[in-house]
């Protein structure tokens, strides 16, 4: 789960970091072409990212079979509420909020939703980066991951997902730790 977040954010962060160096020397800035701020897509509201190969395999886990988990999570509407709630809690939490500062939260919410929806077999394909690539530069620790998991648990509880179903979903995410936690 976490990984998606990061992947999305990462690509956004790279673009942002590369752009605004013009301020350093105003004279030079006049002479040279000013680097453009990345512009958000007028339709999706997302920042541009470097191209990569899209595949459901990037989701880092396979889908559940059948419709039980989709129903337990109240379908796509429920999954969307959970993702938004989890992201809201995470960006507001001073323990991990820094991780999200340079992230494109629009893209993050979309790709996280796709990943959860794909894994829960609720009728989505995942179009984000894979877990290793999306997290490789974030320098995440286990403590960061645990904070995120607790926000996901809180969001699932707020959506009144049964605890057994919550854990079933987490069992798909737990193996991703090896790609997400890098230090």
């Amino acid at each position: 789960m976490f990984s998606l977040i990061i992947a999305l954010a990462l690509s956004a962060a790279q673009d942002i970091a590369a752009a605004p160096e013009a301020e350093a020397d105003p004279a030079a800035a006049e002479a040279a072409p000013v680097p453009k701020e990345p512009e958000r897509d007028p339709v999706t509201g997302e920042l541009p990212v470097d191209p990569y190969e899209m595949s459901n395999a990037n989701a880092g886990a396979g889908s559940f079979s059948g419709t039980g988990m989709r129903d337990a999570f109240h379908g796509q509407d429920g999954i969307r509420r959970i993702v938004n709630d989890m992201v809201d809690r995470s960006v507001a939490d001073p323990r991990i909020s820094e991780i999200f500062v340079a992230h494109d939260l629009v893209r993050l919410r979309r790709t996280l939703f796709e990943q959860f929806c794909y894994i829960l077999n609720a009728g989505c394909d995942y179009s984000g980066r894979d877990m290793a690539n999306s997290h490789k530069d974030l320098g995440l620790q286990v403590d960061d991951l645990n904070v995120l998991v607790e926000h996901l648990q809180a969001a699932m509880a707020a959506e009144t997902i049964s605890f057994a179903a919550q854990n079933r979903f987490l069992s798909k995410l737990a193996p991703m730790k090896r790609d997400v936690v890098t230090r």
Binding site: D143, N146, V149, A174, R178
Partner: protein
């Protein structure tokens, strides 16, 4: 070593361990990062685990980013005995755990029957060390458990009683290997531990006997269902040696419920069946333990 008090002993133990472990950690410590209840509770021997069975979990709330600690107190009310124990343990970087526990068994009327005097209390110090070798109880491969090895050095304070009941030594050392996993897909935590021991009644009646003085493998199993982030219910089974000629010793069994009142405080209540203890059969009763962890 014999002249040093248990606490001084433990402090030295801790200082040595800290000196050995800390230089490797250049990053800032982050403490208290474990998920709720994933540190387990404290066993009656002071190690991280269930109530009676030791697990591979490392005590305290810190992950591999920090140093955690826990303190606990436990009472067990039995028909013919009262048990109290308390202890502290420290977990370093979710890798190494050092623990100390003090066990006291009040023999009440049995003490008089054995000629010790009514209310004679058997005492023991338990010094433990545990190292996590591999795996992760929560994350990682869904079938790969967290595996740890450990040692518990036990020192009974009742040399004369141990000798009188036929124990070969008032001191002994247990070795164990433990595997623990939270199977998230079923909300079930399972643990299996093999302990090599010659302890009589956990060591309170000494170690070995004239005829039976070898370490033997014993099994400790726990299985628990996670009802919520805060609430777990389960059972444990622990086999024990039966070395003494004067009294039979039985396996132990419990049914427990653990509840995390807060991130730092866990209360565990259990029904325990400790079988026959020093000729008094059917020692079944109530177990209550309070743990504070950081």
């Amino acid at each position: 070593m014999h002249r040093i008090s248990p606490l001084a002993h433990f402090t030295i133990w801790l200082a040595l361990a800290a000196a050995a472990i800390c230089p490797a950690q250049a990053q800032d410590l982050r403490n208290g990062g474990k998920l709720l209840l994933t540190n387990g509770v404290s066993t009656i021997e002071g190690s991280g685990g269930g109530g009676l069975a030791t697990w591979s979990t490392i005590a305290g709330n810190a992950t591999e980013e920090g140093i955690g600690a826990s303190a606990h107190g436990t009472v067990i009310e039995l028909p013919d005995y009262n048990w109290t124990s308390y202890g502290i343990s420290v977990g370093f970087f979710d890798r190494v755990e050092l623990s100390y526990a003090r066990q006291n068994l009040d023999t009440i009327d049995i003490g008089a029957a054995l000629g010790l005097g009514r209310g004679y209390t058997l005492n023991q110090d338990v010094f433990g060390a545990k190292v996590r070798l591999a795996g992760d109880a929560v994350y990682g491969d869904s079938l790969m458990p967290q595996i740890a090895i450990g040692v518990q050095h036990k020192r009974s304070s009742d040399d004369a009683v141990v000798a009188a009941v036929g124990g070969a030594s008032p001191h002994g050392t247990d070795f164990y290997i433990s595997a623990t996993k939270l199977f998230l897909s079923h909300s079930i935590l399972a643990n299996a531990t093999v302990r090599f021991t010659k302890a009589n009644q956990n060591g309170l009646l000494g170690f070995g006997s004239a005829t039976d003085n070898d370490h033997k493998p014993q099994f400790e199993g726990s299985i628990a269902y996670q009802f919520s982030r805060r609430f777990v219910v389960g059972g444990e089974y622990r086999t024990k040696p039966d070395n003494l000629a004067i009294a039979r010793e039985d396996d132990w069994f419990d049914l427990f419920a653990a509840y995390a009142l807060t991130r730092n405080v866990t209360v565990t209540a259990a029904y325990v069946d400790l079988g026959s203890i020093a000729t008094a059969d059917n020692q079944r009763g109530a177990f209550l333990s309070l743990q504070a962890a950081f």
